[in-house]
Symmetry: C2
Subunit: 360 residues, 2 copies
């Protein structure tokens, strides 16, 4: 056989391709698809989908669970439409220290808006906050703080509110890490979200935080679109503005608190299916974990345990923010997966690998 003849057989011409494809298109496609898939699965077997997780029981529990529920024909197989995964946000997907970031935003908003509200200088709780009277502010309790923030945003349109959140993220810096707050997302959890989605899961945030606050940045940070963010909300009012354009205005009235026993109600109302995977970090997530665990079938229940004062913060068992007490006892008793941040996470924040990181 001549060389040119051999080449011709190995590389069919375009007209031959057409002939092959039209006469035997099914077989051709099948063959190519098989070759391509063999290549792809070899490549993925070599690539760790969770590179920021250290090998250990927590990582193994995650990958075992995903393997079980996605194995077609297996005893624990779950159809893709039912692969619902829910994640708390503060302390589970991003940092919540030294204060909830939404509280930092709210207090910065009050300061920024104060010049337009001279009356605040004489009204509590604004007066205490603006004059730096920490004791006076503390005497208003948590409710006073939340009232302060709700009042500050009251009367804003939902569009203006989103703009103000984005503006704050663009300029505010975390006091310890000197980074924009939305860089304080946990890299291992970002990888876990992507890994679940690659395995046919639909990932949701179910957080006590404000739904409109989170939606501004959640898609970019986590790949979770606005319609998969469940959170607390205030009442909004529809009206036609002076220019004839319809507006939604924020009222200073709480509509729904998506925390503690509110989380199963939020899941029921917004998602309408029972999750098969839930991740939290505090007692505020206990009922969401119980609700997820309650149906038969394979379930994954995870808790992020904050043990890393060097890279993040060590707190939670006796902390005021993110207290992990009753949910801890239940996790230990029922064998839920507790992720020890110091031990299980190779990387906490993506910026740790950057030269300009202000990590202490």
């Amino acid at each position: 056989m001549q060389r040119s003849d051999r080449e011709e057989r190995i590389r069919p011409s375009w007209s031959q391709w057409r002939a092959i494809a039209s006469r035997k298109s099914y077989r051709v496609v099948l063959a190519v698809v098989m070759l391509v898939s063999v290549g792809a699965s070899r490549a993925s077997a070599q690539t760790d989908p969770l590179p920021s997780w250290n090998d250990g029981a927590a990582k193994q529990a995650i990958t075992d669970f995903v393997t079980r529920v996605t194995l077609q024909g297996g005893a624990d197989f779950v159809p893709p439409a039912e692969r619902i995964a829910v994640f708390d946000n503060d302390g589970t997907l991003w940092c919540e220290q030294p204060v909830y970031f939404q509280l930092a935003f709210g207090l910065d908003s009050v300061k920024a808006l104060a010049p337009k509200h001279p009356e605040w200088r004489h009204q509590q709780p604004f007066k205490a906050f603006l004059s730096g009277d920490k004791e006076g502010l503390a005497s208003q309790g948590e409710k006073g703080l939340l009232g302060l923030i709700a009042a500050a945003h009251s009367g804003m349109t939902t569009d203006d509110y989103a703009v103000s959140v984005a503006g704050w993220l663009a300029q505010a810096r975390h006091p310890r890490f000197d980074r924009p707050y939305n860089e304080l997302v946990y890299q291992p959890m970002v990888e876990l979200l992507a890994y679940l989605r690659a395995n046919g899961f639909k990932t949701f945030i179910v957080s006590g935080g404000g739904v409109e606050f989170m939606r501004v940045w959640a898609e970019k940070a986590y790949g979770i679109p606005p319609e998969q963010v469940v959170g607390s909300s205030g009442v909004t009012q529809f009206k036609i503005g002076a220019d004839g354009r319809p507006l939604l205005t924020k009222l200073p009235k709480v509509e729904f608190i998506d925390d503690g026993p509110g989380k199963p109600s939020g899941i029921n109302r917004f998602i309408g299916r029972r999750p098969i995977l839930a991740f939290g970090n505090s007692d505020g997530d206990q009922q969401m974990l119980q609700w997820t665990a309650a149906e038969p079938g394979a379930r994954f229940l995870g808790i992020v345990h904050h043990t890393d004062s060097a890279r993040e913060y060590a707190y939670d068992r006796r902390s005021k923010i993110g207290k992990l007490d009753k949910a801890w006892d239940e996790a230990v008793q029922r064998g839920w997966t507790v992720v020890d941040m110091a031990k299980d996470w190779k990387t906490v924040f993506a910026f740790e690998h950057s030269n300009t990181g202000a990590l202490q």
Copy 2:
């Protein structure tokens, strides 16, 4: 050239396929993909995605809009993630005559539950309803009717409620068509939903109906999963049952009415993005249509106009249920698409083509 030689060139052996694929895999895949896609697009050009729609302005407006927003590089291109389409349910996706189907369910529930509640025989509004006292019931107004239904389901768990909706659908029949209520879905709208999803849209129900009532059957009827159903809701309460299992119980307290000006609030809270397509049929949808229309960019606003007494019902301009008055004026003034059911729909219900249809 011998015959066997020619065959060998046209049909490479498995080892030759491997050699081709490994040496020139990109070109091979590309060629096959091109041939396959040419075939696929030829096939789809011949298949009308909206076969139950008659040719005319309404159908044309729909396909023109979808073509414009999906044309990569075109002036009106919208990325898939932002292709949010919202649909009212009663009178838009399924029939709402002679009464809202959820009301029929509620009244049937009161009758079914009455033997367990002897006290209802002496309590209004139950007494009037159960004794057939239509005047007494009418005197309670719409609020009385809704109160009746809410009271009937109060204290049920969300799981039991879903079971009771499914049970009702399995045995109840529409008084005119003698069909299960969930067969009274409009076939042209089912096709429209599928056509939009095939073009990268995410389809949502945004209805004044109860979210837990709709979710039981919406996925099968429309291909819309539970997490894409927005509706009115009552408060639910989380508790741990006597057997240690967590439960959500329905309380007789309205949480949110997703109707009229509530629809933009519902869209804001549940979806968190501005839709680019909205379809309704009554004044209760006017604010949803206004909210969808208000942002710049290509928009589709549609109204189902009930004109077909032979195949469905002719009502709406002056009707009590599904009144189309203010939204009609705005649609005419702003050039929104009004679908004339008698004229624009070739088929109304899928069962019209069945031999056992009780169509009058």
